[in-house]
Each structure stands twice: as C-alpha cells, then as structure tokens.
Symmetry: C2
Subunit: 87 residues, 2 copies
Amino acid sequence: MFVIEVYDVNEKRVAKVLKISRKYLYWVQNSVLEGEISEANYKKLKMELKRIINTSEDSVIFYTFRTTRYSQRESIGIVKGGESNIY
Amino acid sequence: MFVIEVYDVNEKRVAKVLKISRKYLYWVQNSVLEGEISEANYKKLKMELKRIINTSEDSVIFYTFRTTRYSQRESIGIVKGGESNIY
C-alpha cells in the first residue's frame, strides 16, 4: 500500500522521527514522507514512532491508500525532497 | 475531488499561505490541510498561492484524489487540527 506521513513533533524529537521514518519511506518535504510500504512494515513504523514520540505533545498522521491509481501529486514552488517513483 | 495540501514556506509567508488555504480546505496539523474541493476552486487556490509564495524558496505540494474510497487516515499522538468529515 501507499502511505503519506506528516509529522508535527517537538524539535527535540524531529531528528529521531525523521531517522525512523526514512527507513521505510522517502522524504518529500519539511515534515512529509511518502512511499510504498507493506502492512508489516507499516505496523513496525508506527510501533517505532510510538516509542519515540510524546503522545501528549507530538502528532503523526498517516494517510494510507490501497491504490494510487486515482491520485496525483502536484507541486508549486521548489522541490525540496527526493521524489518517489510512484507518480 | 479530495485534496491534501502540505506546505513548507518561509515563516514570513506562513500566515498568508495558511489564510488562503483555509478558505478552501480544513487545517489538520502543522503545515497540512485537507478537504473536498471543486476543480474550479482548486485552480483558484493554486493561483492565489502562486501569487504569494517565493517559488525559489517555498514549496507547496498537493495530493489530489478522485475518490477517498480506498483511503484511510490514522493518527498517533495528539490531534491538533480540525477534522474534516471525509473519514
């Protein structure tokens, strides 16, 4: 499945959250990552992040898609991150 | 159609970008908005943002979906923004 991850965490934990997330997904911009991921790895990713974040202060949202057939990504301005090969 | 917008802009322009984006979409977290939008309003949103942002420094990404039938949103940690009624 395809996942878009957006995080909003205390700056003390940004580097750790990014490091974990990059093991599974591509960094696209600021606090956004995306990529194709297996159900098992998606569970691992969430488990690893739950160990790191402060759940009363930090927020991580995952948008998951079974298909990317109907989706499109459009950018305005500069492209900051690496591009995944999904689109 | 359904849109997820993520922006990474210079802090001087964050308030303006957020103000424009909120006319069309719901704020969900940090620099993320989402919502149902018409093709015409999506064009207007992009036009208004292009007028504001510095395209050599700022980045705005739109993920657009014709359907949300196969999508799911999952959060870990606190919920910071308003929820749209799509999920």
